[in-house]
Symmetry: C2
Subunit: 439 residues, 2 copies
Amino acid sequence: MSMINGFTPEDATRLSETERCLIERRERLLGPAYRLFYERPLHTVRGEGVWLFDEQGRRYLDAYNNVASIGHCHPRVVEAMYRQSLQLNTHTRYLQEGVLDYAEQLLGTFPGDLERVMFTCTGSEANDLALRIAKQYTGGTGVIITQFAYHGVTGDIAELSPSLGRGMVLPAHVRTVRAPDAYRLGAANVGATFAADVRAAIDDLKAHGIRPAAILLDGIFSSDGVLPGPAGFLAEGVALAQAEGMLYIADEVQSGFARTGLNMWGFSRHGVRPDIVTLGKPMGNGQPIAGIVGRPEVVDDFGKNMRYFNTFGGNPVSCAAGQAVLDVIQEEHLQQRSYDIGGYLLGGLTTLAQRHDMIGDVRGAGMFLGVELVTDRATKRPAAEQARKVVNSMREQGVLISAAGPLENVLKIRPLLAFTKEHADILVEAVDVAITSLR
Amino acid sequence: MSMINGFTPEDATRLSETERCLIERRERLLGPAYRLFYERPLHTVRGEGVWLFDEQGRRYLDAYNNVASIGHCHPRVVEAMYRQSLQLNTHTRYLQEGVLDYAEQLLGTFPGDLERVMFTCTGSEANDLALRIAKQYTGGTGVIITQFAYHGVTGDIAELSPSLGRGMVLPAHVRTVRAPDAYRLGAANVGATFAADVRAAIDDLKAHGIRPAAILLDGIFSSDGVLPGPAGFLAEGVALAQAEGMLYIADEVQSGFARTGLNMWGFSRHGVRPDIVTLGKPMGNGQPIAGIVGRPEVVDDFGKNMRYFNTFGGNPVSCAAGQAVLDVIQEEHLQQRSYDIGGYLLGGLTTLAQRHDMIGDVRGAGMFLGVELVTDRATKRPAAEQARKVVNSMREQGVLISAAGPLENVLKIRPLLAFTKEHADILVEAVDVAITSLR
């Protein structure tokens, strides 16, 4: 089973003896599910701010990892976790103030009636819980997702993640809609197309006697190819689904925590009101913490009728990490920086597009950007092989990005929120060099 | 939806103003899924060794929590996490030595051909992954569990957890068997009864055209009432299932990491060979880390055919915690202590039974013990209300335990592995006082 930007055994000849030994140990201990990035996998030994360091001491500008979003080994998070782990680390069956203080601060970043939070440890668990809540609340099972969605790895959620490839088979209660791809569908059509697809999916679920439960959408459609705009394109389709009694689950595991710049949460760009929002990756800057935020009516219905206890969910050490992340986002003005530097980056990449015909589209919201490579701008023929080469060339230049999308031709650029303009310049230049070298 | 040993709003009159405020905040921020232990919930502020401390500075002997198993805030774990979090915390798509060193050390504690490990963040994720692997490997969907099993909270695994109560409905592909309850079925019959139930379950799955995939069993049947013996009772039933091509998944989330004394893993007491073992709770002494260990043939089949990536799974900080836990278990001889002190405790509780008719049965393996309360030894009529009173009386005395089992009448005693004889004496005396006060 292949993976975009994955190392393959044929690449092994390029590696040092040390690296080959490490890979052999991985295979022997962890098995084949553990896949590596890049033709020459990165051997990481240290992280600091926007940089990762390899075993040779060479540094790599991190424009990919949205977990250590506020900076690798951020001292505020490290110290907060250390202090708390010296004091107490237990579960939520006892009264404890830390989880409540954090919950209050986190909920304060949400609009409207998104007033309850439940903590899990991973984004997969968050989406899995959101789905359970939606089924309980609606009494239905039908779910609508996009064609190349990724929402996680639990049994129920992997089934809602067709981007995982041919190993996954869509179950009978799931319908897919086209992702709102402004580049290929046209910006003017994308909202109406999405709404029409949602309408058809609901009708088809009902025609099969399946009661609709939820529409589950990534806040920036990352695996569908990074599709941020135009702002507002979700509104019509989501309103349709909600009018049918479905819950709208906004998957903010990738697009949350100031990533999209203008807002703390990706869905806000579209003027929609989620029933449940799922959180994860950057929430603890590396500490395993995730969760769901939802409308009281919906969350309470589940909590009253079902038993749910996540042993590590909301533990004091994870909450301390989460609170430090929120503090840093606020104190270091990272949402504004995500907007400013993200815009600066978008400008730089757009300028590159004037010199490189291979760049078919440049798009982004804040610090989540996509550069779609094509061999022909008129036909928009995808340049997947070239995207792979650009990603690997950039790794050799010391800049980390990846690729995404059903056509495997979109550069996935997701810089740490701690980027400055200087870092953005390094990144744009590396893209330039990589694409130039393809000629 | 009620919970054994759960706080109910009617208990609120016993509480201080501070505690009532905290509970009101919890309800407002976290919703009704967040249930508390005890009639007078514990307000925890600090943990150290075998003790938890409340906001008044009063200490509580922890004979319940099997997460901070080697001791609350164990300095070795705290320091290992701190050191690693200053250095690097990222995922397994890059080469990194820490996860491999830990994997090697962990796999060294397993017998036979259990040679591969995959890391998750919670025990629920571990069981969910094990189930996915079993379905992929066997091509089946049928699962056998015990009647009052608990295996976790993802959608697929909550369905295999009937102890969650009436909110859960068993799906068509699941069959339950009676837990091997030596007290109620008779020690001499328990293995044969279990095997006969497994045989019937397999036949019934097949009669319904459902291909059997897995038999999933808790290493000490905790939610079924803590059922440790006699050693070997699992062998016949498990062999039957494996002969039918089913995978035996040993759920060691509760019974693993030296908990059962004689062995590192609970299944070892029964002379069985699992295809997959699932791990969790005490693995990182509070840090969210869990995983599966399995036979190469089984794990590799999944890894080759499916994509699975757990973002936080196997991260360096969690692995550092896990490695410190293994080191401490070895260096502080905690498995031997679990055996010794567990045996001492079993003796103390058995002596109590000579004076208290209400104690129908005392059982245990290492530091996982059950005391079954009955109103009449001849009829074995369960004393659930009395068990609740004992648990709450002990909390007032400063000793933490809980209750379990389908009849809600089994004292669930799970001391930290760091217990000494002095701690065991305090515990036994508290049980004595609590039962005496019932007269």
